[in-house]
Symmetry: C2
Subunit: 344 residues, 2 copies
DNA sequence: CTGTTAGCGCTTTCAT
DNA sequence: ATGAAAGCGCTAACAG
């Protein structure tokens, strides 16, 4: 089937290209009758305007980029789901990029995105230690940037997060309340905004119970096997914990894997709470107590913020939007003789 | 920071735009010295060619579209992971679209993609019953199309699938071998290619044991609550099954949820096998026996096929690529007195 | 109300 | 080896 462009329509109708263009945009300077004729033919020939030709003129692509560590993480896929939903409704298109937590990949992606391929970027940072020059560069170039979850504190733009300090505090307090005495904190990457704040909350909860001396922060990293090793060592240390607060989903699962392999009973010997957006949390053995972030809503919020600014051609305001995460206590943190947790 | 384009570089270096353009493409008609100067300045000013300007000239965007039912399904996110990996290596960019299993949404997305926004499309079909006119239309327009998993039999192009018949057969045979007598098949959408074939395999396994009379196919649909209702009814029917083969992950989890709610013991009372790419399958209670599809590899394969054709400007050949899924028996299907399954 | 014209930033003949 | 010029498909002044 031959390609159909404005010229085709114009020729067919015996009018000029610009008339057709204006008619299709429902411009007030075109007669109703002409508009109708144009619309009809366009419909009939399945005319679709070439977005990149118009992008070139208007200097906007209606594409945005989403950069995440990895799409197979349920938190990020939920966020992408939220972003995509809003995008579809707002007639934007979503380009996906994964960093796999590598700073180099993140920088390279950002480098490529200076080209004008997208109108804006939604990003959650890689875990690898970084300087932020690639991000600063984009920001200086005026490319609209929205952060979610793993934000960059140095760049003044929109940041969508959850109340990580409060979540860290609550999760830890819950473990203590259920009878844990020595609660360890499993850290993903200590320079990451979310990790720092969750850890702060954890420490504050210990402080309030005068348990600061028993604080134990374990760096686990982003690799599954390393994480399991670190956790294994922790369990075999002279003073092993009786509670674990996993700062991210991956580490909660690593904890389960290690406990299963070594026959540590959860929650009898070790109580566990972890950040997680697992659809199977309540089906695990035992059901995993989770801190659930509103990932979908965070994605929506990030997209909404970005699109609003793009449409009004305003720069992204430097604002922090903080949503609430909720603690869902289940069997993995259940204390005994207290009868407070529901187990489900 | 000001935007830097070819004209900027040309002006700065005192050469013409076309010289710069050719130099950047390492054309043989440009002197080594000039090339060096151009490259250096480009580097220095962080020049990035505007992809859509060049797209307009060359008629290719280096964008591809991926259309899936939903990104939060682990199978699809793994496939996207595979696609994105290959894309990044091949310097393609990936646009993501979700149909949420709606035919209308799928059609609308396809409609928009006739515009030239992408060079090609990788798609896994929505579950909702459909006519395929929107797909046929794209195919007729010459838009390169690759299907994976949920393919369209009517369109002659590349199709990446797993051996669904064999998987259906094996899963069912395994359940029978573990002692199940009445095995039910949970269907997502019977007109879907994968569903039909898995079902065929299931029926064949029954046939070989002369159990065709006990076959029971239950239509569960795409909605969680409906599915749970259907499964609940099944368990309360006059002759409830003692084995269930769930054709997709969602239905396996729905089965667990119903059994948990109603106190049906798995595998004692009901043995379960399901297609699933869950990272938590072995941590469930009991560990879920799964048919695991090589989702990542399927994504890679789909992307590779597409990019190869795009680069050589050849149309996509009508070929079926079939990868193998593997049955991983775990506790949920374990028989007794047989001692064959490992439980993990 | 409609048409003419000049680009958006880039590639690519075709001259020089 | 370099440059001038046309044009990808569309939009937006500006004229008429």
């Amino acid at each position: 089937m031959a390609k159909v462009d404005l010229k085709t329509l114009a020729r067919e109708l015996g009018v000029s290209v610009s008339t057709v263009s204006k008619a299709l945009q429902d411009s007030h300077e075109i007669s109703a009758e002409t508009k109708a004729r144009v619309m009809e033919l366009a419909q009939q020939l399945h005319y679709q305007p070439n977005p990149y030709a118009s992008s070139l003129r208007r200097q906007q692509t209606r594409n945005i980029a989403v950069i995440v560590p990895e799409v197979i993480n349920h938190f990020f896929s939920l966020a992408i789901d939220g972003i995509e939903s809003v995008a579809q409704a707002s007639h934007y298109h979503v380009l996906i990029y994964q960093t796999h937590d590598s700073r180099a990949k993140e920088a390279s992606i950002c480098q490529h995105l200076q080209s004008g391929r997208t109108d804006g970027i939604i990003i959650s940072l890689a875990a690898e230690p970084q300087d932020f020059t690639h991000l600063l560069q984009m920001h200086e170039r005026g490319i609209p940037l929205v952060f979610f979850d793993r934000v960059c504190p140095l760049i003044d733009t929109a940041r969508i997060t959850t109340d990580d300090f409060a979540s860290g505090f609550n999760a830890t307090a819950h473990l203590l309340q259920q009878g844990a005495k020595r609660v360890a904190y499993l850290s993903l990457a200590p320079h990451l905004s979310i990790d720092r704040q969750r850890q702060e909350g954890y420490l504050e909860a210990l402080r309030q119970q005068n348990l600061t001396a028993l604080a134990q922060v374990v760096y686990c990293g982003t690799h599954e096997t390393e994480a399991q090793q670190a956790i294994g060592q922790l369990l075999h240390s002279p003073h092993p914990p009786d509670g674990i607060f996993a700062s991210v989903e991956k580490l909660a699962l690593a904890t389960y894997a290690v406990c299963q392999a070594q026959g540590w009973q959860i929650p009898q010997r070790l109580k566990v709470v972890g950040f997680a957006n697992l659809p199977t949390a309540h089906l695990l053995n035992p059901p995993l107590s989770t801190v659930v972030q509103p990932a979908f809503a965070m994605g929506q919020q990030a997209a909404q913020t970005l699109f609003t600014c793009l449409k009004t051609r305003r720069p992204i305001p430097a604002q922090n939007v903080t949503l609430s995460a909720v603690l869902e206590p289940r069997g993995s943190s259940q204390g005994f003789g207290l009868g407070k947790t529901t187990g489900r």
